[in-house]
């Protein structure tokens, strides 16, 4: 939460000018995108060959009016309910978008079990292994980048520069196709895991570095003056304080990794994206499969977000500053 102000903001219903502005703007926008046609197409209305300008105008006003009324009503709800209703309405918009494609649902239903078992499983385990390795890489990378050892700094900064600099897709190809040229043969899954770990390790190095730097120098001095060596100080004093700070950016990386794991589909790994493409291709039902995995990815992301929220509130309770 931001700093909670003790002064109440004026509610929307007390600001008629603002309401008028919302109404006017929504009129213009809805007229421009032609939203009134949706209303006019409702089955219980008479359907002449063409609607007159007056009818169109009234329709626009009605749609904009409903929209403004909706906002006004929501603004009067309690905070939790407000959040819930806005979520629900936005989600409904997404569903309308989803259903607008005239999808073949029986087809989706026949493929769904396979997507959920094989696809989700592979995606999750590839991501989980990669994120674990990436975290370890990142901790060492961050320490190396902060160290005064020339070798450590040079290697770590070269590493972050290179793996943040090359597109992930290129890295995946380079590892899968390049390593065999050197006589090292890697399967598709390990190759994907290596590429994801190296790439995300590089990004997360910077996150850990920022976290470690944010800890007051006095903490180092206190630990060192009790006789803690470097490693012990890091493990027991610095990282435990840095981790709560970097949970939000780390959560970002976890979620991004989850979806970037779809790039290893180019190696023929049977994860979600690969299955979606091959299953869709076989029966020319691309959109069905794409939209289905889109929702599956989104659901997995929501789970991650909930877990992240839990971790954050855990640290808020247990690690006071």
């Amino acid at each position: 939460m931001l700093y909670a102000d003790t002064v109440r903001n004026r509610s929307l219903s007390e600001q008629p000018v603002l309401i008028a502005i919302i109404f006017a703007v929504s009129c213009v926008v809805f007229a421009l995108v032609g939203l009134h046609h949706t209303l006019l197409a409702l089955p219980f209305l008479p359907q002449p060959e063409e609607h007159g300008l007056v009818t169109q105008g009234i329709a626009t006003l009605v749609v904009a009016g409903l929209f403004t009324l909706n906002i006004l009503l929501i603004s009067r709800l309690r905070l939790r309910l407000q959040i819930f209703v806005v979520w629900a309405e936005l989600f409904m918009c997404f569903l309308i978008f989803f259903f607008a494609f005239d999808l073949n649902f029986p087809f989706i239903l026949t493929k769904l079990p396979f997507l959920l078992t094989q696809g989700v499983f592979t995606t999750l385990y590839v991501s989980a292994i990669s994120i674990t390795i990436a975290t370890v890489l990142a901790i060492f990378g961050a320490i190396a980048k902060l160290s005064s050892n020339g070798f450590a700094f040079a290697i770590a900064s070269f590493y972050t520069s290179m793996f943040r600099g090359l597109p992930l897709l290129v890295q995946i190809y380079l590892i899968y196709l390049g390593l065999p040229q050197l006589g090292i043969f890697v399967d598709a899954v390990p190759a994907g895991v290596i590429a994801l770990s190296l790439c995300y390790g590089a990004y997360m190095t910077e996150i850990f570095r920022a976290g470690i730097m944010s800890i007051d120098k006095g903490q180092w001095e206190a630990a060192r003056s009790i006789g803690f060596k470097f490693g012990l100080t890091m493990r027991r004093v610095i990282l435990p304080q840095a981790v709560p700070i970097i949970v939000p950016p780390l959560g970002n990386q976890f979620i991004a990794m989850l979806k970037d794991s779809s790039l290893v589909s180019v190696l023929g790994v049977w994860e979600l994206m690969y299955l979606a493409r091959t299953l869709g291709q076989r029966e020319f039902r691309h959109l069905e499969m794409l939209l289905t995995v889109a929702i599956i990815y989104w659901v997995m992301t929501i789970v991650f977000e909930i877990v992240q929220g839990r971790i954050e509130s855990y640290f808020q309770k247990h690690h006071r500053r």
Binding site: E221, A222, F228, L232, V237, Q241, R321
Partner: protein, 253 residues
């Protein structure tokens, strides 16, 4: 403390000889000579920026010096030493801003050193910790986090944390200057109480009452030099140099 019977009383514990320190081009400490004997209480004072903190931080090598020598308990401090952690176990430090570990409870702050550095079993470390918490009169706060304590209580926890390592020397860097006036006395009382136990103390402070009560010697620094040092009674009554006189006038007025 526990070690005092192993050393003959009065043997040298800290010996600084012709020590210089530079921060880049800035000559922060010039020709420092200071000997501290076991059991002695030294108070260091002087105007802001005179190098007091820098000097006492050199004694446990939180800062490095460039010229001269520093011996602590017979071990010379220098750049490429492997046993700095051993010296640091012998030399406790109390900071102006406490520097407690905010993610640990008071008890965990106190047992951290004994358990992870000295590898004592938890039960023994907690016994020691509770004993020292009692000594600084906050045994009832053991399970709290530092942020739940007042400044004075935090500083007393910090003192107890140093004591748990059973050091031969305690260094204090302005332990009361970040505290509200009404909390200063509780910390000073704790320190006076400690002084009675025979531990060696080197204390940077402007609390002249404390200096008069416990110091064996007062050291005055200005512009990176030790200007003079002497017994507190003499030091306050007849300071040798003009600068000391001026400083004392300012601080005692």
């Amino acid at each position: 403390m526990t070690h005092e019977d192993t050393n003959a009383v009065g043997s040298e514990i800290i010996a600084i000889r012709d020590m210089h320190k530079w921060y880049g081009n800035f000559h922060a400490l010039k020709d420092i000579n200071l000997t501290v004997h076991l059991g002695e209480k030294i108070v260091v004072c002087g105007p802001s920026g005179s190098g007091k903190s820098t000097m006492i931080r050199c004694i446990n090598r939180l800062e490095g010096h460039q010229k001269g020598t520093i011996h602590v308990d017979g071990i010379e401090l220098h750049e490429d030493m492997r046993n700095i952690d051993i010296v640091r176990q012998e030399v406790g430090m109390v900071f102006q801003h406490f520097n407690l570990f905010p993610h640990m409870t008071v008890l965990e702050n106190l047992t951290a050193g004994p358990m992870w550095v000295k590898k004592l079993p938890r039960a023994e470390a907690e016994d020691t910790a509770r004993r020292y918490l009692e000594r600084v009169k906050i045994s009832e706060q053991a399970e709290k986090y530092p942020s739940q304590l007042s400044g004075g209580q935090q500083q007393r926890v910090a003192i107890a944390r140093s004591l748990c390592m059973e050091p031969k020397v305690l260094l204090f860097d302005e332990p009361t200057s970040a505290l509200d006036p009404e909390m200063v006395s509780e910390v000073l009382e704790t320190m006076e109480d400690l002084a009675g136990t025979g531990v060696t103390m080197v204390c940077v402070t402007h609390e002249m009452g404390f200096a008069k009560a416990v110091a064996d010697r007062v050291v005055f620094m200005d512009e990176g030099r030790i200007i003079e040092s002497g017994e507190p009674v003499e030091f306050f009554k007849n300071p040798e140099s003009e600068r000391t006189k001026k400083f004392l006038d300012q601080i005692l007025s």
